[in-house]
Symmetry: D3
Subunit: 228 residues, 6 copies
């Protein structure tokens, strides 16, 4: 289909893909194309380590190559942005990582962003990424809720823990905008915004919005990979 945006959940948990699908729904009305969320079957149930993040790149690239002819823009929907730069070598079409897009969107909504991470162990990985992006001057802090990706399906306890974590970022770290540091958490956005009085960026929404705009405006990157 013309103007198809492919949002790839690089973990294999379909419930996460479904949450993404709900999250991007507000972007669909009137977009003259399709926003399609797919699950990377070869991915782990959740990406919770650098190794898992690195290891999904191979199947992710194969998926992207297969789908490229039918795809106008890609979104890699994991907050470690696995394969973001690899995909940008494969195709000159726009490719967005949800961490990159989520953080950049936050910069338009507040002065200093706080990140609600899932696991404590993600924080150093994200810190490297943020420095790599050159955005550390605006980082207020990152705090973990302490759940695994798969445990996020249990909504009951998650919401109050996320609000509590966001409150610490606001009150202890001085964040005035929050970014959800994981895909598939958009369902909690409204409750957090309401409880904390801060804008909350769901990174999958942010990246999908970037993709819609990129398709409409016709951005096309120069390939940065090796000449072939």
């Amino acid at each position: 289909m013309k103007n198809r945006i492919l949002v790839i959940n690089p973990n294999s948990t379909v419930a996460v893909t479904e949450a993404m699908d709900r999250a991007v729904a507000p972007l669909r009305p009137g977009f003259e194309g399709e926003i399609r969320c797919v699950t990377l079957a070869e991915g782990p149930p959740g990406i919770e380590s650098q190794r898992q993040s690195d290891e999904v790149v191979a199947p992710l690239c194969r998926l992207a190559e297969r789908e490229a002819p039918e795809t106008a823009a890609f979104v890699v929907a994991c907050f470690s942005d696995p394969g973001l730069y690899a995909l940008r070598e494969i195709t000159g079409k726009p490719v967005f990582g949800i961490a990159e897009s989520g953080l950049l969107t936050a910069l338009t909504l507040g002065e200093r962003f706080g990140i609600v991470a899932i696991l404590e162990t993600s924080i150093p990985r994200h810190a490297r990424m943020i420095r790599g992006l050159g955005l550390e001057a605006r980082l207020a802090g990152e705090r973990a809720v302490g759940f695994g990706v798969t445990a996020l399906a249990n909504a009951a306890a998650v919401e109050s823990r996320m609000i509590e974590t966001g409150r610490a970022l606001r009150d202890d770290c001085g964040a005035d905008v929050l970014v959800l540091g994981c895909a598939g958490m958009a369902d909690y956005r409204a409750a957090m915004e309401s409880a904390l009085g801060l804008p909350v960026v769901d990174p999958t929404q942010a990246a999908a919005a970037h993709a819609v705009a990129a398709v409409q405006l016709g951005y096309r990157r120069a390939l940065t990979g090796p000449a072939q």
Copy 2:
């Protein structure tokens, strides 16, 4: 009207507003709202100095206050982002500056951005802004075409000068994505992309796209101004 995005050209040159209007047209199909470009009658013919940039804030704020009840999101369409933070005090609705949005969009399309300025004298002003945004780690350089804002209406000579400036940014400064450092230059985007092989970001398009997404996703900022 529900979901109206107000793109304010803070200079009084209607031809510039018309160019913006053409530029944002690709974002309109299907957006369940309106993207309306207006001219700030009280503005100067072109904003070419810090003083002009500062002096338009007062009428800009009055316009924003008048229009706020009917407006879902604002875009300040001058590359000095005049009044961006003042407007963010007036309203909790999303407000975008075209410089901020243009630069952030460029970060998703390349590693190092180059800015095509109009005038040499804008460069120090932009340098302060980029440092204020915390984005200098990704700046490749800024170069001026050397025309005044109003002279940009003469398309003939402008295009080749802009391409030449973009080429210097690419070849001398190492930019792999360009940002047009002025509103109302989107008409030259395609020619530059074609001549240079780099993505070129028109900042008004970038900010309007941010505004569309913000309306669709319901972002709402905390007010940062003084309690009233």
Copy 3:
């Protein structure tokens, strides 16, 4: 008069101008010129927001233009440094902003500076300014006393609150020099220094001292605004 330094209070509260006048008195003996403090009649009673800061630039520039022929150097005496760069376009004579001068002076007196702000809402505005100046590496922190500019006239409660705020900057943030983040607070300097054992910079004093030196040494800037 020859060698007149014009210290402009851009708010309209004469008591603040009078406090400045007292503050700069130690710089007068022997200066072969005049340090004159004036009130911008068109200003608000206090500048407590970005909007107010931006909106005083127009009358400030008009005042500066009127007074330029009789003025050897200008001081903009509000900690948001409104119009600092606009005035630097209007005249090649030295122009100092009290925030800029206060922070730079602090760098000679300590390793890490803390800022005593008036209002919580000023802090993000100052943060942008500090990044814009490129001085964030030396910032220990900023804390607000929580009074409005006009309330500062009530000396009783203010002093103990300022000392308390300075103590938090020293003990929690590691500041070893403090900067008063508002004009017209110099009367509290001695009490703070005595209570806290740290040097305290009144920014109006700092900028006026810079202006005196600039006049004596004959600095003259290149105009950075548009050619006219």
Copy 4:
């Protein structure tokens, strides 16, 4: 064997592994252990893209897991440091990446380092890495010789091209120490040092030296990956 250091060439070109083996020879005398260079059979002939760099992580991790019981420290011998952080999750034993070690070693030998890259397309990838490491303040520049990894086996033309590139880094960028931006180029070190009068760091040598020291001094990292 006790105290075995495993230097893993993640490309499958045995000649590169052999060059590494020669390069680390000066570190062997007296080290009470073994420095063993191995080829990752599953790797591509050369790692010339982000995708290749990411895709070798999976087999690299499997190799590391297999060899961990017999290994005291690991070296990942590709200048993109593929899998460096993944391996640091797998084992608490020291793991060194040749880019990280090469750059850190250069910081002890000069004020500003220049990198001799193989391909132009590697430069943005390295730039992200250097920012991620937080070392950009000391980067003089990076320039490419323009050969593919495999072409490096042809010694004749390579040497003069590398000297020429190093000279540009010294004379145009102000580098006073050079880092070879690829594994397996140590054979050219002496000629470059002699021609240019600057210290030249072979990154595989640098990382292997770090590994020897780490084994001798008994460093042991805390695992940063997910609890298991």
Copy 5:
């Protein structure tokens, strides 16, 4: 004498001290104290290396201790700021280094400063100092005239070489304010300003002006050295 400012030339060349004395003359009228320039007899003829800079600290400290009871503020008048932090441990009275003061003054006069060094070999030493001060964001560049400190006494050739160096900083590096990277060059300031159209900061003048202001305003630092 009350309010004596001691400007210490840490090299033993009396002609340099005399040039400083001329340089600070414009600050004397009306200062209710004395600005006295003295030569450190134990210093080398010129400080042209890190070693010389470090080695003058011992006699410099002894001189400062002897003179402290009669001194209200100190200026260390060598662009390497030798002993600046050591003196700040010895006395709580204000101590200024001419490099620190010169650079900070330049920040009020332009957007990006260029430094006119004497020798090529000083540049890495200054680069470390500028990073240590946290001011590198505003550095345009540094270029050397290529004379030794003592050769500067020969005015004929020096002036044109300094103008030429300043021109390179302006035109190649984008500096809009220059700092003389050596004490005792103030005699060339006017000619450079006139030839280049940029403000030129003589660092000894800048530091002496800081000292005058500090005495007038009564700054007193907390001692940062070890408790004794």
Copy 6:
């Protein structure tokens, strides 16, 4: 002797030199040269101030000059790295400072380093040094144990105080690797690692390891001092 590494303790406390000698013992087996630790007789009992740090440079340089013909590499074994850059002017042979080497080694073992200082007053001095090195992006924090250098000989109380300080760096500042901010504390390394579960870098060990590698690999710096 061929390949002699000279580790210079610039304080005159022989017990500190002896502790260094024990610390570097693991690097000796098999090194085809000598690692010799010497005491600078002219040094103070402990270097606890900037002045002391600066004042040892003169005798340190004389010692280095005397010993240079017999020395393959130097280590300056005080965490203020006194004379590091002066020695690098005197000789093209590798010279290592224990602070520089300790911090760089820490970067390979963790994401953010914490420094265990001896005295509170050292912290601003180290902060300048870390900024001078360009490594502040990775600094988690620095905390002092509050003992003087000579008091460190009393092992009983020191160990628990160091562990307590390291715990604060880990838990309050987020450090995942610690650096001992003083020479001669290596005896406490094992107890700290065991109590805290973090790698701990003794800087003398780190620098001596760098020196061994530099000798084995034949690094030779370009002289950065003045031509002689």
